[in-house]
Amino acid sequence: MSQPATVFVGMSGGVDSSVAAMLLVEQGYNVVGVYMKNWSQDLPGMKCPWADDLADAKRVAVKLGIPFEVWDFEKAYREKVVDYMLAEFRKGNTPNPDVMCNQEIKFKLFYEKAMAKGADFIATGHYARTGRGLLRAVDENKDQTYFLYRISDEALEHTIFPIGGMLKPEVKKLAAEKGLHNAYKKESMGVCFVGEVGMRDFLKEYIDVQPGEIREMETEKVLGYHDGAVFYTIGQRHGLYLSGEKGKINDGMPYYVVAKDIEKNIVYVSKNLNDAHIWATELKLTDVVMRGGAGGQMMSKILVRLRHRAPLIPASFDGETLHFENAVKRPASGQSAVLYDGEICLGGGIIC
């Protein structure tokens, strides 16, 4: 009988990667569980759950009877993900750390280390599938290819996504049936280590407060003041402290951030939902990654996703700029646009 293939599975302590590991064991692979320790620091108002997550991952590994290791990527994560993220925010962009984490940590450092330790494959609990390249998950609501479009073809060829063909409720149900203690564990939110709500607090740990003006886009009128333009994102409408004559500037319609002047530290807002800054029929991309040698020619009739879980929008792409038939709400610069041909993820780029 031939030796079963060895799979190193990234286990976060959550139900998805736990079920992924369990399925691999059931399928007869030689499975090694690994907890990637990327971040462990507590922050104001946020207790980092890494120790509990690690214990949850290990508990499942022990239950499955597989070896379990902790790989410390904190230094690399700080350099490749957090420092990148801070640099982008300082430039006025709104980067996506999950995309960077997959590209630099999970499907690079983890992949390389696993292969060096004798892995035939790596596996994660992502909702995605492989086949003719990277494919969208069966659970359209959970599909995570938006975060995976930049991982290398080489790593992908050696990757198994055991739960990519399942629906989230099925994953939970299976976990519960098999007695996994974390079947109903609350999902971690947003970015790997800090919930979406916490991003501003997180940034304030590293970026100094710099008071500046909030101006109305159309009139240049000063409506209020902010504590640093870098903390604001295009499209944001919460957390704006606008002063001025109540009722006159605020007729019940919310103001949106429509532009930022990072150099002058000015945040521009508008009530006009038709403001040209909010909508776009074209989006220029930078740092484009095309998967499996795709691209090079005009691609029409493709689908584009501009945010995780956002609907797929028909578009065409000339290798540099996305063209839409109908105007789309413009995502913040630094976010990703991910391209699809049906279920196949073609690649994507960073929105300028």
Partner: protein
């Protein structure tokens, strides 16, 4: 459930809970209030403090009630902030170790047995030394430290200082959190100037502790406000907590002799029934502490396997293990990383029965075998 982690937490006994109950409900008054019912509560609070103090051979006014042992340890070591330096045992709990480290304290070595190296202590005492902190019973190993001998050394240093005209005082502080279930603790016999007590380890409520302070020591308060506890620890008195602590310490003293016999018997059952372990705390340890090393095995995996079987044990100190930090205590007694990773801490207590001890031995043997077979595969 078979609970074998009594050094981490103990359940509140029925008697303790009953004693506390009225002070949450009808007798809820602030002891500082002027009317008679409040004064009655104040008197009962003082009486309860008297019971706690009496248990260690002290008086109510010698105690400062705190919100647990950590605060008591911080309060005790705080005197050094004024003038002087700290020596602490390398195996002290973090509430002593980290406080001392922050104040530039120096660690005293332990022998491989876990007992203080008295020669190292003598060598490290200088004219700057103001406080020496040594726990009566170590929280990971159960090691009992020879406090009377340490006090003797301190007495001779004091004499020598007086002779040479050195004015700096020298005090002995000890954390006795783990001691009260098995030892007859008496401040005069131990020769301590300050002693930390903890209700949560003697079947009393969590978040209640006390610091015994001799009249020689002038403490600096960490908390200021209404001037409670002779101005040393402001904040409205935790009346139910202290009533509960008094009930708990009284029970502990009643059980003292019975406990010694019971735990010695259970310890023997475990040591005879368990297989292929190395006993780490062979000597100078309380009988309810067993630290077992399973070479080549990851003890945390054993914990998770035992947890599925309803048996709860610890590796090293409970809080250290969960953060992936290697136990500084096991390191201090000379264990290598693999030995530390393979160490289980079992601490017996009131919740246990004879049957449970036999069952626990079986369960531990079973999970050790599971891990051994997995590793061999």
């Amino acid at each position: 459930m078979i609970y074998l982690d009594h050094a981490a937490a103990t359940p509140v006994s029925e008697k303790v809970l009953e004693a506390m109950r009225p002070y949450f409900l009808e007798d809820f008054f602030n002891p500082s209030a002027a009317y008679l019912p409040a004064k009655k509560v104040a008197a009962e609070y003082e009486a309860a403090k008297g019971v706690i103090a009496h248990a260690i051979g002290a008086k109510a006014n010698d105690l400062v009630i705190t919100a647990g042992a950590t605060e008591a340890n911080n309060l005790a070591l705080g005197i050094v902030a004024l003038d002087g330096s700290i020596l602490y045992l390398a195996t002290e709990h973090d509430s002593v170790r980290k406080t001392a480290e922050r104040m530039g304290g120096e660690a005293i070595n332990v022998l491989p047995s876990g007992v203080i190296d008295l020669d190292d202590l003598r060598a490290k005492i200088t004219d700057d030394t103001m406080i020496i902190s040594v726990a009566l019973v170590n929280n990971e190993l159960g090691t009992i430290q020879p406090l009377a001998e340490i006090a003797e050394i301190i007495r001779s240093v004091r004499m020598d200082r007086l002779k040479r005209g050195v004015k700096r005082p020298l005090y002995l502080h000890s954390d006795a959190s783990q001691a009260l279930n098995l030892l007859d603790v008496n401040v005069a016999r131990l020769g301590v100037d300050m002693l930390t007590l903890n209700a949560a380890k003697v079947y009393g409520p969590k978040g209640v502790g006390a610091l015994y302070v001799s009249h020689e020591v002038k403490l600096t308060p960490l908390t200021v406000g209404g001037g409670q506890e002779r101005g040393l620890r402001s904040g409205t008195e935790n009346v139910p907590g202290v009533i509960g602590f008094a009930a708990a310490i009284t029970e502990a003293r009643e059980h003292l002799n019975g406990n010694r016999k019971k735990y010695a018997k259970w310890r023997k059952i475990l040591l005879d029934g368990l297989q292929e372990y190395e006993l780490i705390n062979r000597k100078h340890s309380l009988d309810n502490f067993l630290v077992l090393c399973y070479n080549g095995i990851d003890a945390e995996r054993l914990i998770f396997l035992l947890e599925e079987r309803g048996v709860y044990v610890a590796t090293g100190a409970a809080c250290a293990a969960s953060k992936g930090v290697r136990s500084h205590v096991l390191k201090a007694i000379g264990l290598n990383d693999a030995q530390i990773a393979g160490s289980l801490r079992i601490t017996l207590g009131e919740t246990n029965t004879d049957d449970q001890i036999y069952e626990a031995a079986e369960a531990i043997n079973e999970v050790v075998l599971i891990e051994k077979e997995r590793i061999e595969r």
